[in-house]
Amino acid sequence: MSSASSAESDEDGSGQSTESTGSGESTESGDERLTLVEAVCDGLYTEMSADDRVVVLGEDVGKNGGVFRATEGLYEAFGDDRVVDTPLAESGIVGTGIGLALSGMRPVAEIQFMGFSYPAFDQLVSHAARFRSRSHGAYTVPMVVRMPYGGGIRAPEHHSESKEAFFAHEPGLKVVAPSTPSDAKGLLTAAIRDPDPVVFLEPKLIYRAFREAVPTGSYEVPLSDAAIRREGSDVTVYAWGAMTRPALIAADNVADEYGVDVELVDLRTLSPLDVETIVDSFEKTGRAVIVHEGPKTGGLGAEVAATIQERAVLYQEAPIKRVTGFDAPVPLHSLEDFYLPQAVRIQDGILETVAF
């Protein structure tokens, strides 16, 4: 299932509110113009208000309100029992998060940057992911682990990771990466309410890139559906998180300049994949370009490509193209523009694919 919605929005936050792009429905009326990071914070606030089992924990999430201000005001609103500054220890954060979940809480753990999630990898893949299965349903881990991910903000080394593929390969985890403020809030709400552990990846490049109308109150965007951000018939571009924006720019460009009609699928939830929407779109266009920031080899793009050709090879009219980070570490920031998939690379990939 997927819903077509416009990803167009008001870049500088000064203009009129456009319609909400979230596919969920709000329980209260009205909406606010929020950035993505504000929408995350609003989502946390809303769920914490509604459910006192929800606790936020992590490094600097309390008094400081998070290094990106994603938890701003929560400490003041809910106190230090529910918004908890932890010691500097990621395995400890995720490990105690698991224990909190086992005790009946609904922990939302923050890992400060995805590049610092690896010390917690064991707790995530060996435990959070498997508790339900290994205990045959006796124990479950309804936990969210939030982490800003991705490049493009001139950050220091290890601050630009996009390794969603690591988490998507582990059965039992769900992986989410919103690309709009309203999705961020709705997906986060769904993640917190989800009975299973969710790795919630926040595209920090667009934390403050634009504002969008976000419903006040509580609503869910389900963790099962990709979104079609632009309908088209010539080629499908698959992207998520921060990459939906250059993908959209590229799509608009090739429409304007070459009359190529791009369909843009924003995966939103990376695990489990919305195979139906992915394949349906491909069956329509017969051509695909997959965009992601992480290294090409073994990236999630490989899974999308493999899935498409498994199920829709007879529709295929060109090789499935991957426009991705290279198989090299993200360089220090002077070169990150050349590492990340820019609109120019995506556009070139689209043109190559339609020309095949």
Partner: protein
């Protein structure tokens, strides 16, 4: 298993202050040491504790034999360590929570798991780690030390919910103290002052690595200082001392007095009489007679001697216990061996709602099973 009597917490705490020599109540022959006083347990409770230790020892022998016959897979024996397992279990109230490792069979049993359920994972049963609703035991932990942060988190959760009366007791070995998760867990425990007790079953070996090579720290209890919590060494071969110390630590976790902190690290000094697991041959790395000195302090013998000398146990009752133990184990083996695993169940409980892709995979496998028969899947690969 819970006992209702109050123990004199302050007394045990006093014992607990001793740092170097492990706390002991019984001498090697089961006599009460001068200045020591025995825990406030009824004759019945003491006999029951003894029976459970005897059961654990016999279970070990039977399990090793089952493994040799190929009826269960790799087994981690507990002989020499049953005293500590049973005693810490007796110190728990029913509502307390137990985090066991692969070796704490007896601790799990004493805290409410059936004997049969101990055998099911060893037979590779799909629901080998399923836990009944009313039993506060976690599925056993194989990745070393990973349970510590989780135990801390649960205790922390209880505290947040005003459920400090549900303390958490977390087992691990001497080797586990080297892992990062030991450190991160105990540090969180100290910072959040959670109602938890950490029992390090120092059996002197982590597979082939002796305690002295595991860390240059003189004792494992002293590692507590790094976390601002209390560390205690107890003779893990002395069930009464282990009971007393654990009981006191649990009480402190639930109701610390002024200046006390909730968490305690207990180093229960023990010895692994046998192999690390049935896949291990200790003669490769340690002297056969190394265990002799430890065996002289054997927990089963020691408690038996004490109970005999107190008139709580006699040959007749001991004989009854031996028989009862055998029957219980026979029944458990029969039950475990009759349980089957449905291949289809491997797809269950991955998520609350199976994603489409998993449903497809399930259908795919079932179609193949239909087409080729289940036997086609067990053809030897090698």
């Amino acid at each position: 298993m819970s006992t209702q009597e109050d123990v004199d917490a302050s007394k045990a705490n006093e014992l607990a202050r001793t740092d170097d020599e492990p706390i002991r109540i019984l001498d090697a022959d089961g006599n009460v040491l001068p200045n020591a006083s025995v825990p406030d347990l009824s004759a019945e409770e003491l006999r029951s504790m003894y029976e459970d230790i005897a059961l654990a020892r016999r279970f070990d022998e039977r399990a090793i034999s089952l493994q040799r016959q190929g009826r269960i897979a790799t087994y981690a024996p507990m002989t020499g360590q049953e005293g500590a397992q049973v005693a810490t279990g007796y110190a728990l109230e029913e509502r307390d929570w137990l985090f066991p490792t692969y070796r704490e069979h007896a601790a799990k049993y004493v805290h409410g798991m059936s004997l049969e359920s101990l055998l099911k994972p060893l037979r590779g049963h799909r629901d080998g780690y399923a836990i009944p609703d009313d039993v506060n035991v976690l599925p056993e932990y194989i990745p070393i030390a990973t349970q510590l942060p989780q135990a801390v988190g649960m205790a922390w959760g209880h505290q947040l919910q005003g459920r400090v009366e549900e303390a958490v007791l977390c087992h691990f070995g001497d080797g586990a103290t080297s892992e990062g998760d030991f450190h991160e867990g105990l540090n969180f425990a100290g910072v959040f002052d959670v109602p938890a007790v950490f029992v390090c079953n120092n059996n002197q070996w982590a597979i082939s690595v002796p305690r002295e090579r595991q860390t240059a720290s003189e004792t494992l209890a002293q590692k507590a200082q790094a976390y601002g919590i209390e560390g205690v060494r107890v003779d893990g071969l002395d069930p009464l001392a282990t009971y007393e110390v654990t009981r006191a630590a649990l009480r402190k976790a639930k109701e610390p007095t002024d200046g006390e902190r909730r968490p305690t690290l207990i180093e229960a000094v023990q010895y692994r009489y046998g192999a690390h697991t049935t896949a291990d041959d200790p003669s490769v790395y340690r002297e056969d007679d190394e265990g002799d000195a430890w065996r002289e302090k054997d927990p089963l013998e020691r408690l038996r001697n004490y109970l005999y000398s107190e008139g709580i146990l006699d040959d007749e009752r001991d004989g009854e216990i031996t028989e009862r133990v055998e029957t219980k184990i026979d029944d458990a083996i029969a039950a475990a061996e009759s349980a089957e695993s449905d291949p289809d169940s491997l797809f269950e409980h991955v998520y609350d709602e199976p994603p489409a892709r998993l449903r497809e995979q399930r259908e795919e496998l079932n179609a193949l099973r239909e087409k080729y028969g289940d036997d086609a899947f067990s053809e030897v690969l090698e």
